[in-house]
């Protein structure tokens, strides 16, 4: 918002539709066309597209552009899930309710497979959607937090580069952290 304030024309273009969409869905909103890395075309409401900081700055550089925005690092499958998330987020912008937002976010990640998450993380990072990146990181952290070291290694595909002596010493040093670990 701060950067768009420098440009009054742009501010009007961006803020006006986004507030109206949230309240009056009847009004047809401006759509933005985005093209994914696998050449899929997405037509997304402007308010949703502005959730993507990367896309937003594209339009800040070229406010009157009607071109299709290429997203070279974004495959279609995770992108459609990202759009789903951002649509939900916009509702909470107009009507903030932290408890409901938390519930909605945990609902969003609950049904997602590990593959879904791992595909969405780079997309959220590339599109600079901090809320989503946080939600995804938290979801992965939740999935591994009670797991054994061996599980975490295989989960992330990491090779153990400690000698067995080193590892034994470390485990002893952090012995308290090894209580309450789930079975693999």
């Amino acid at each position: 918002m701060s950067s768009s304030a420098e440009n009054p024309t742009l501010t009007a273009e961006i803020t006006k539709p986004s507030t109206e969409i949230a309240t009056e869905t009847a009004q047809s909103a401006k759509k933005i066309t985005l093209k994914t890395s696998d050449d899929q075309i997405f037509e997304v409401e402007e308010s949703v597209a502005m959730e993507f900081a990367t896309v937003k700055s594209f339009f800040e550089d070229a406010p009157s552009s009607t071109d299709t925005v290429p997203l070279p690092n974004v495959p279609a499958k995770p992108f459609s899930q990202v759009i789903e998330f951002c649509k939900e987020q916009i509702k909470f912008k107009a009507n903030p309710d932290e408890t409901e937002k938390k519930r909605s976010n945990s609902e969003f990640v609950k049904e997602k497979t590990n593959e879904d998450l791992v595909e969405m993380i780079p997309v959220a990072n590339y599109l600079e959607i901090k809320d989503l990146l946080d939600v995804l990181n938290q979801a992965v952290a939740d999935r591994i937090q009670n797991r054994s070291v061996e599980y975490v290694r295989s989960f992330f595909g990491i090779d153990n580069d400690f000698t067995s002596e080193e590892e034994a010493l470390l485990r002893e040093e952090h012995a308290w952290a090894f209580e309450d670990v789930d079975e693999d």
């Binding site: 495959p75 595909e119 990072n125 590339y126 946080d134 990181n137 591994i144 992330f156 952290a177």
Partner: protein, 344 residues
């Protein structure tokens, strides 16, 4: 670490996204018909670091055994700065037996408890931002510096309350009623009248999510309402209290029986308020959002039914892998050692 401690600590929103990461390799994986957990190895390291920063401290320390790179994150100032910016806050409570080394920590999400050792000759007196202030058990006037990420306050009283936001209030243990509460705001002090003040028993002030909350038992034989424990929240105007909760009657009867007039102490943290019965090891937890009351499970590290009274004391504890003051502490002449050790 020095760089991390300054007043212009970056706001959580100034997080720099990892540049130049292509997700193309992820697409390759998707195209494969077989899938295993190794998909995660396709994720660039900076994005994996971001996941690690979301782990609660016990899982973080366990994760240090995964590989050498993960082990060294605790010493990487880049990682620690990221951690300070994005790691979620953990609203835990720390309980300890006075003058004993048996402390335990209660994590609210899982209601798990952990035992931990303490320092001989010192008792924990306060906690802020993951640090614990220990006060010497020796007699004499006590004056200790509590260093929090937000404020450095010199505390020289036996009873006080402090929170991570830098707000604190003081009153003596002998005064039974904080009839006049003082709030620090722009160097002016104001008097605040407690609600139902003539009928309050064992009142405590706690901080919860930037609000001041008064917790007290309400008792008067001629009062038209049954005895109960009530919570009031101080409104933004700073002069009006609004009742926000009344303990369910059945629970209060249980509570009153255990408490038997000894009084109770309260600690607030995030959306939780812990109410600890004096002279006992029983404590209740109230969730302000969910309006839910529950007994904190008995500490597995204390022997029950023994001769000595297992009196519990507690305060809010926010475990963290690092705090912005760690760099400052390192510069102090006081021989503070491994601060990461405080977690364990």
């Amino acid at each position: 670490m020095e760089g991390a401690f300054n007043n212009s600590m970056p706001s959580p929103f100034s997080y720099t996204f990892t540049p130049g990461i292509s997700s193309a390799n992820v697409t390759d994986t998707v195209a494969n018909t077989w899938m295993d957990t190794r998909i995660w190895s396709k994720l660039p390291q900076p994005l994996i670091d971001r996941v690690i920063a979301f782990l609660p401290p016990p899982a973080f320390f366990r994760a240090r055994c995964v590989c050498k790179r993960w082990y060294s994150l605790l010493f990487s100032s880049n990682f620690l700065e990221l951690y300070i910016q994005i790691s979620p806050r953990h609203h835990w409570f720390l309980f300890f037996k006075h003058k004993s080394l048996k402390n335990y920590i209660c994590g609210n999400n899982s209601n798990t408890t952990r035992g931990s050792g303490g320092k001989t000759g010192f008792s924990p007196a306060a906690s802020s931002g993951g640090l614990i202030c220990w006060v010497s058990d020796e007699a004499g006037a006590k004056s200790d510096d509590l260093i929090s990420p937000y404020a450095v306050k010199n505390l020289s009283t036996e009873s006080f309350h402090i929170d991570a936001g830098g707000f604190y209030s003081l009153w003596g243990t002998t005064s039974s009623l904080p009839r006049l509460c003082s709030l620090e705001s722009e160097n002016s002090w104001c008097k605040i009248q407690a609600p139902m003040r003539r009928f309050l028993r064992s009142p405590s002030l706690v901080e919860s999510m930037d609000k001041l909350i008064l917790v007290a038992a309400v008792e008067k034989s001629k009062l038209n309402v049954p005895k109960s424990l009530r919570l009031w929240s101080l409104q933004a105007c700073g002069t009006t209290w609004v009742e926000i909760e009344r303990m369910p009657q059945q629970l209060y009867q249980q509570f009153e029986e255990l408490e038997a007039g000894h009084g109770f102490d309260c600690v607030g943290h995030g959306k939780f308020i812990a109410i600890i019965i004096r002279g006992s090891d029983r404590a209740l937890l109230f969730d302000i959002f969910r309006k839910a009351w529950q007994w904190i499970p008995p500490c597995p590290y204390m022997n029950h039914g023994g001769e000595d009274v297992n009196e519990l004391h507690g305060f809010a504890y926010e475990p963290t892998v690092t705090t912005p003051v760690t760099g400052l502490l390192d510069q102090l002449t006081v021989p503070f050692q491994s601060f990461s050790g405080l977690i364990g």
